[in-house]
Structures are given as structure tokens and as C-alpha cells.
Amino acid sequence: MVFMQGFLDEQFNQLEELQDESSPNFVEEVVDLFFKDSSRLLTNIEQAIDKYPQDFYRLDSLVHQFKGSGSSIGALRVKNECSVFKAHCNDRSLEGCRRSFQKIKREHATLKQKLESYFQLLRQVGPREYAVCSRK
């Protein structure tokens, strides 16, 4: 998982520990759930940012959900940028929120790409090798 360093934190390892014979695709299922949730939330956040007058309480609530969802898979950079966004909501800085949102979208897209490649690789190498790879 060298290529994921910096993008994922220890929580991803915790996720892998929950995968077993009875739920062999658990990690990928949770990751899929995150990307399904996050796509919806990104759309909602974008709409809320563009709405006038701005509802910073709602924006904070949406990003809070997004951050929580990301924390489930250990999405470190996404989580950190969500914290920055929440700080801008607290300061009622729309410009800050807009800038932060662009970063969140970029980090989200990069993470999605990396995880898709990761799972594709795992499917190619097979389950036994996955058990070895996941502990590196």
C-alpha cells in the first residue's frame, strides 16, 4: 500500500481487519458505500454553496457527514480538508468554503482513482496475495 501513503490512515487497516471469510469483499463494499454517499453529498454541498443567502449551518452539517463517512475508510486528506471547510463555515467565509470545496473535490477524485486501481490490482493478484499485500 506504499502508493496510498498520505491518502489513507490507520483506519484503512482497521477496515481490513474486519474482512474475513464470511465477508470477503467487506473493504471494497465499505469503500463503495463511501463513494456512493460522497457523490451525493458533494452535489448537495455544491448546491448549498451556490444558494443565496448561504446557510452555513447546513453547509457545516453536510461536510460533517462527508467527513464522518470519509473517516470510515481512513480518507485522511479528505478528512483534513473537511476540517478546514468546517472552520470556514464557523468563520462564515464563503470564499474560504469555495476554495476548500475545490480541494475536497480534488482529493476525493484522486482517492477514488487510487482505490479503483488498488482493488483492480487485488482482483488480478487473487485472494491469497491480498492477504499478504494488506499487511504491508
Binding site: 483506519q11 482497521q14 477496515l15 481487519e17 474486519l18 474475513d20 465477508s23 467487506f26 463494499e29 465499505v30 458505500l33 463511501f34 454517499d37 452539517s61 460533517h64 457527514q65 467527513k67 464522518g68 463517512s69 473517516s71 470510515s72
Partner: protein, 128 residues
Amino acid sequence: MARKMIRVLLVEDEEIHRVMARAAVKAAAGTEDDVLDLAENGAAAVRRVREVAPYDLILMDRQMPVMDGHEATRRIRAMGVTTPIVAVSSDGLPADVEAFIGAGADYFTPKPLSKEKLGNILAKFGLT
């Protein structure tokens, strides 16, 4: 000697956290016999606590539609229920933790749940 079956109520509106919690409870408790009930908001949780056989543990999210975790905790305590309530929330600020404990929760753990966190919680409340 086999451990007695435990009955856990998870109060959580978001699917990803429900999936994580279900897996963490199963991994930490280590038996298929344990029961994990779900409530999708605080109001549903209060109803389940009132209507269902006593729970051994309640895992309570904060931010939920209809009724949030603070209010649900207050109402469950007002019913005289002494089941351990563990607040599970992304909000880990001291003020948030204090608010939950003030509402009647026994403990707070930040999201996401893991096998390790659940194991510690079960041990803390003598459920292992």
C-alpha cells in the same frame, strides 16, 4: 464457560456507519448469537428501548434526523433505563463530549467504530 448472548442497540442513520458498527460488533463480540438491533434515529431508539427486551448496550450517534442523540439519551434516561449508553460521534470536541455525558451517556468514543474500540467498550461494561 460460554459468555451469555448480548443485545446491542445501534442508533445510527447513515448506512456506512451501520455497516461498520455491525462488523465491529461481530468481530469484537466473537459470536453469531449476539443481537444487534438498529434504530435509524433517536425517536426510533426511544421506541425500541420502551418496547423491546432490555438491551445490554446502546451505541448512540449524535447527528440524526427527527431526534438527535442528545435528546434520545435524555429521554431514555428519563424512562429509568440504566443500560450503558456509549456516544459514538464524529464530533470529539470537549463541549460535545460533555453535552453527551450531561444528557446521560456513560462513555464517548469517536467514529468510526473498530473491532478494538468495541472490544474496549465491551470490556469496560463487563460484557465480554
